[in-house]
Each structure stands twice: as C-alpha cells, then as structure tokens.
C-alpha cells in the first residue's frame, strides 16, 4: 500500500493552496500573521518530530536542544553574516550535532532514550551557560535583524511546505517503510536487510536540522536571547503533545494537532487569561476521553461518512 503510486490529482490544488497561503500576509493584520507564524512553526516541528519519533517509537525530548541550537546560531552570527548564510549554518550545525547524538544513543531504547534526550538538552543548556559566563561575562545575546513578521512567515511557510511534502514523499519511499519496520520490531528490520543504524541516524539528523531551522527563523524577532529561553524544555513537551494530539501515524497528523492546539491556546488565553492553565488542562483530559486517536482519529471517522472518500476507497480496492 505504501509503495503503491497514487494518483497526482491533488498536486495542483496543493500548490495553489501554498501560493494562497504565501499571499495571505497581504490581506491579514500583523497579529494574524504572527498567529500563523506559531501555527507554521509548530506544524513544522511536530511533523518532523513525528516522522522520526512517531514511526520508530524513539520518543525524543531533544526538540528544545535543536531549536535552541538554531536560536543560538542566529544570536552568535547574525551580526556578522547575511541572513541566508546564518540560516544555512544553523541547519548544518543542527544536522551535525544530531548525527553525533544519534550515533551515541543507539543502544538506548524506550523510556531510557526519552529521558536521555531530555538530559542532553539540559546538559547543552548548562554548558552554554557556563561558556557564556566565563567567556562573555553575560548571558544576554541580542539579535538585531531587520526581519518583519511577513518575512518570518514566508520562511516558515517554505519550511513547513518542504517538511510536510518531504515527509509525505519519504514515508511512501523505502525510507519510510524501513522506519515503520524499525518501529514494529527492530530485530525483524535488521534481519530483513535494513541498515537500521544508517536509516535511524540519518532521519534523526535530518529532522533535527529542520528543528534548528525553525528555531533560527523564530529567533529573528526575539531581540533578546539567553540559554534559558533558547533551550526551553517546554518546547519539547509541547511538540510531543501536539504530535500525540494530531496522531503520529501519518504525515498530516502532527500538523493537524499543532493547528488546533495553537488556536485553542490563543482562544483560551484571551477568554480565560487568569485560568488558562486550568482550562487547557481540562481540554486535554476531555480530548483524550472524547476524541480517542486524536485529530486524525476524528478525520477518519468523518471521512468514513463522506461519500466521496467512500467512492475513492472503492476505486482503490
């Protein structure tokens, strides 16, 4: 089923959709654009996170580490190099560090891998703090890049498009198949001739590089960065939650978790500013109990009712 070439009828509408999204900042207020910035950033993060962690079952809490690496690259270099070069470097550093991490954590699995990645993020943060204190005698870094909300939006839109399209394409390729087999049973994967190490490490590095990219782009309007902001573990948890909420089995799932959660948070923090935490917490419990399988589960149940998809299913079978 995964290898089966599908019809390409949707490519034209998808391209039109992206073009429409790219033009949106012309119509919307800066506030709406910045709301969409969050949506796109988290959609990219959750999608790339789930492509590795969701399929292989190696749940990573190192998202914040890679986002932070991107942020710090911008903080260190934005005064000296053109923006495009800085972003490319952020992407590369994320990739290289993730390669190292991936290679050294191969022996770990399950919860041990989860907490290892969490500890790793904290270790990186502590080392950056220590370095800054001893080298620069301040923790504050300033980013004065003249990047408008629109520019950041367009950069993130490009990132999100590439990530989602890439993940969609890869998950239908041999790589995606290999990842799924690893997720099912790593031993079986190895026996069936998959170079599990290579696949895991490369995919981990590639998705981590995306996270660094997102961190770098977002930081363009932070003005001020310090290690506690850059390496904020909360981001790791948020991305994990969004992906779980969306459903991690399919390329669209995580993005479908990110969009409603960002919008829901925005709604709640405006409606119940003093009870946001309580309201959000209750929403989580309600979602788990009444929306099993996350947003993708909901989509599945709805699409079962839609005549068109039923038609398509019949055609496919």
């Amino acid at each position: 089923m995964a290898e089966k070439p599908a019809s390409r009828w949707w490519i034209a509408p998808a391209a039109a959709g992206v073009a429409f999204l790219a033009g949106l900042p012309l119509l919307l207020s800066a506030y709406t654009v910045s709301l969409l910035i969050s949506v796109l950033a988290y959609a990219s993060l959750a999608t790339s996170w789930a492509f590795f962690s969701g399929t292989t079952r190696y749940i990573s809490l190192a998202t914040a580490a890679f986002v932070g690496i991107g942020t710090y690259t911008v903080a260190l270099l934005s005064d000296h190099l053109p923006l495009a070069v800085v972003l490319a470097i952020a992407h590369m550093i994320g990739f290289v560090i993730a390669l190292g991490v991936g290679l050294s954590t191969l022996r770990l699995s399950g919860i041990y891998f989860v907490i290892f990645t969490f500890g790793l993020t904290e270790l990186i943060k502590q080392l950056v703090i220590w370095f800054e204190i001893n080298q620069t005698k301040t923790l504050a870094r300033y980013i004065f890049v003249n990047a408008s909300g629109t520019l950041i939006y367009e950069l993130l839109l490009a990132t999100a498009t590439i990530v989602i399209a890439g993940v969609w394409w890869l998950s239908r390729s041999r790589v995606g198949y290999a990842l799924r087999v690893i997720g099912e049973d790593e031993m079986v994967a190895r026996h069936s001739g998959i170079d599990t190490t290579r696949v895991k490490v490369l995919v981990f590095a590639a998705t981590s590089a995306v996270m660094s990219m997102v961190g770098a782009v977002l930081s363009l309007r932070y003005t001020y960065v310090d290690p506690n902001i850059a390496f904020n573990s909360l981001v790791s948890f948020q991305v994990l939650i969004m992906a779980l909420l969306g459903g991690i089995g399919r390329p669209w799932g995580p993005a479908l978790g990110a969009v409603p959660l960002v919008l829901l948070s925005e709604l709640l923090s405006g409606t119940f500013p003093h009870h946001f935490g309580i309201a959000l917490g209750i929403c989580f419990v309600v979602i788990v109990f009444f929306l099993p399988g996350g947003v993708m589960g909901l989509v599945d149940r709805w699409s079962a009712w839609l005549p068109r998809s039923a038609l398509r299913r019949r055609k496919e079978s």
């Binding site: 969050s38 220590w130 301040t138 923790l139 504050a140 309007r221 923090s269 946001f276």
Partner: protein, 402 residues
C-alpha cells in the same frame, strides 16, 4: 455622577475658553489599557506578585477616584484593563502585544514581566509607537538602546549603578579600618545574576577592593553549603550574593545553620519579600538588598494599606516600583489631557515624577539615579544608596551577628 461630570466639563469649558469648540468632543467611555504577562508557566509567580497585581490595584484606585482626568474633554474617564496570558513564552508575548494594538485597538499597552520578555516586545511597542515604561528589566545593554527604541522607558536600576555603591561602601569601611575589605561574591547563573556580578567585579577593581571568592552556581541549585564552607575558610567580611528568590532563601538559611555571618551581608532578588521577613524574623535585621524604594515617599503608607485590603498580603518593593510606573503613566496622560501617544511619550521623557517609590526622571529614557541598595532595618526595608537622595537612611553597620 453623570451630571457632575457634565458640570465639571462646563466649568473647565469656561476656563479653557480659548480652545476651539471642535476640541470639545465627546469624551471616550473609557481608556482601554491592555497588557500581556505570564499568568501561567514558570514566570507566572513573579509576574503575579510584581506586575499584574499592581496593574489591577492601580486601575481600581483610578476608577475609585472617578478615572483619569482628560483635559481635552474636561472629564474624568475610567480605565478598562484587557489582560492576556503570555504563558511565559516570548513568541506569545510578542503576538499578544500585536493583538492588543491591532485587534483590540487599545489606547495603551503596559509592560510585560521579565527582562527577556520586555526586551523582546520592545520592538513591537516602538514599531506602533506605544509608549511603555519597562520595570522588571535590568541589563547593561539597555543603556544603549534609547535611540533605537524612543518609546521605551526603563525604570529599574541597571546592573552598573546597582553595584557601584556596594564597592564604594566596602572601600570606605576598609579605609575607616572597620573591615579588612575581603569580598566574597557568588551569583546565580542567570542573566541578571551574571551581569550584576560582572559589574560588581569591575567596580571592585576600580575601587581597589580585594575579591577573595567569585563563583557562580546554576539556577535551581538545591544546596549551597559547599560554597558557603569554602567562603568561610577564606574569612571574608563582606558577602554579596546576586541571587534569585529560591536561592536567596536557601543561602540565608544555610548561612544561619553554618554560622556564616560577615558584617556585610547582601542578597539579591527575594530579600525584601514579605515571605523572607516571615521566614527569617529578627535575623533579617541588617541584611543588604538589591534595589530599594524611598519608604518615606508621600502616599506609600496609604498604598500599602490599599494593597493589604485588596490582596490580604504585604507588598514587596518590586510591586511598589511597578505601581510607581503606573503613576508616571497616569501623570503623563493627565498632563497631555488626551490619549495622544506621541505626546504622552514626550511628557514621560521630559517630566519629573513624584511617586510612591522614588522621584523619577528619565534621561535617554533611562531612569537616572535610581535606588540601588536597600537594607532591612528592624522590620522595615529602607533605602541606603545612593546616599545623596531624598529619603536615604544611613547604613546600619555592622549587621548584627545571627
């Protein structure tokens, strides 16, 4: 009520007879003031005790008095607060300030909580030309940001002026032969702690004061006794901890237990908190504090009573400072007499403001000669440095042994 407003309006109409009648437009129903601070997440505790509790108290005080007088309409106009939760996240804070300005179209936006959040939102305030008085922000770089952000004002004492008086104090006590002048410095590895310690180190070097111990510890450390023991072996007579609330409490208690009691004992954020006083009782006497307010400033006593009535707890000096920034804003609005943000900005920039905390005047949008050092004297936090300011009390030396 309605009638009184009309009468008052009429009275000032006669007074302002030279104004063109077209200016006598209908007064707005309210002055809409928005803010986005951390109401959940790790910054929420600090933001609650220092920032938004004061915004609400101020709004209540203003509305109890009928509102803010807008000369242009000759009427008092009540304020209406619109609050959002930035969830302790920078990205949210930036967006919510934009939301307040562009969607809610509020008249004014108040500062968020924390150095990082203030610095990150400053470009938004300045892009839309909304005047803002940042209070909970202290960083060396701020002094150079004036020209870049003309609508941002910085009211808190910044690291260099906050530490210079400390080095001078040690120097003076040393030359008077009261102490040997051996300084021990420890600081939390967060932006404020690091910048304060670095500024102190520099100030000591300038004064020729000897530093026998200078080390950091991570945010969230759960034991500082190894460091205290190491310092005790070096026998310092002036101790400075540029600390955050939880470590301020911890280092103080561990000093009590281990018997580390140098005659100069200074701790950072958290020292003037009511919780600190409740925890340490009489042992707080003589401890030096980061920042201060003039406890004799007019109106402060009444403010403390109103605060107690509204929140059923005592205030800390950071809250008083935040409330003072609201008084500055109110006075600037009343001076301008309408909601004209450019004029309000100019009024803040050019004025001198008597508040419940301090007399404020901004140069390069930076509050000049701000209170730098306070001290627990008996059951009260008094302002000690700069010593040439009105309301400054003499230093209590030495700190009584605990």
């Amino acid at each position: 009520m309605q009638r009184r407003t009309v009468l008052k309006g009429g009275a000032s109409l006669i007074g302002a007879g030279s104004l063109p009648t077209i200016a006598r437009a209908q007064a707005p129903k309210s002055i809409r003031i928005g803010y986005a601070v951390a109401l959940s997440g790790p910054y929420a505790p600090g933001a609650q005790s220092t920032t938004w509790s004061q915004y609400k108290l101020w709004a209540k005080d203003v509305n109890d008095a009928g509102g803010i007088m807008l000369k242009k309409y000759g009427a008092k106009v009540p304020v209406e607060l619109i609050d959002y939760d930035d969830r302790s996240q920078i990205e949210e804070a930036i967006r919510l300030v934009e939301r307040l300005i562009l969607n809610d179209k509020v008249d004014l936006v108040l500062a968020p909580w924390g150095t990082a959040t203030n610095l990150a939102t400053a470009p938004v305030f300045n892009k839309y030309e909304y005047p803002v008085i940042h209070f909970t922000a202290s960083a060396d770089r701020v002094a150079q940001l004036g020209p870049r952000w003309p609508y941002s004002f910085w009211a808190l004492v910044q690291p260099k002026p906050a530490t210079a008086p400390l080095a001078t104090m040690v120097k003076k006590l040393t030359t008077e032969g009261k102490i040997k002048g051996r300084v021990a410095i420890m600081h939390v590895a967060d932006q404020l702690g690091v910048e304060m310690a670095a500024a102190m180190q520099e100030a000591c070097k300038k004064e020729g004061v000897e530093i026998v111990y200078f080390k950091s510890y991570p945010l969230g450390a759960s034991d500082l006794s190894p460091q205290i023991r190491e310092m005790m072996a070096l026998n310092p007579d002036a101790f400075f901890a540029f600390s955050y609330p939880s470590d301020t409490f911890m280092v103080t208690e561990q000093s009590h237990v281990l018997g580390f009691s140098p005659p100069i004992y200074y701790t950072g954020v958290g020292t003037p908190f009511p919780a600190y006083a409740a925890k340490f009782g009489a042992k707080k006497n003589g401890v030096l504090i980061y920042g201060a307010v003039d406890s004799t400033a007019p109106g402060q006593k009444e403010y403390r009573e109103r605060h107690k009535a509204m929140y059923n707890r005592d205030v800390e000096i950071g809250s008083i400072g935040t409330y003072a920034t609201m008084q500055i804003l109110q006075k600037a609005i009343e001076q301008v007499g309408e909601i004209d943000r450019k004029k309000i900005r100019d009024a803040i920039a050019g004025g001198t403001f008597e508040t419940i905390a301090d007399v404020y005047s901004f140069k390069g949008q930076l509050h000049q000669n701000a209170w730098a050092v306070g001290q627990w004297q008996g059951d009260e936090v008094v302002a000690v440095y700069p010593e040439n300011k009105r309301g400054a009390k003499p230093l209590m030396f030495p700190k009584p042994k605990w």
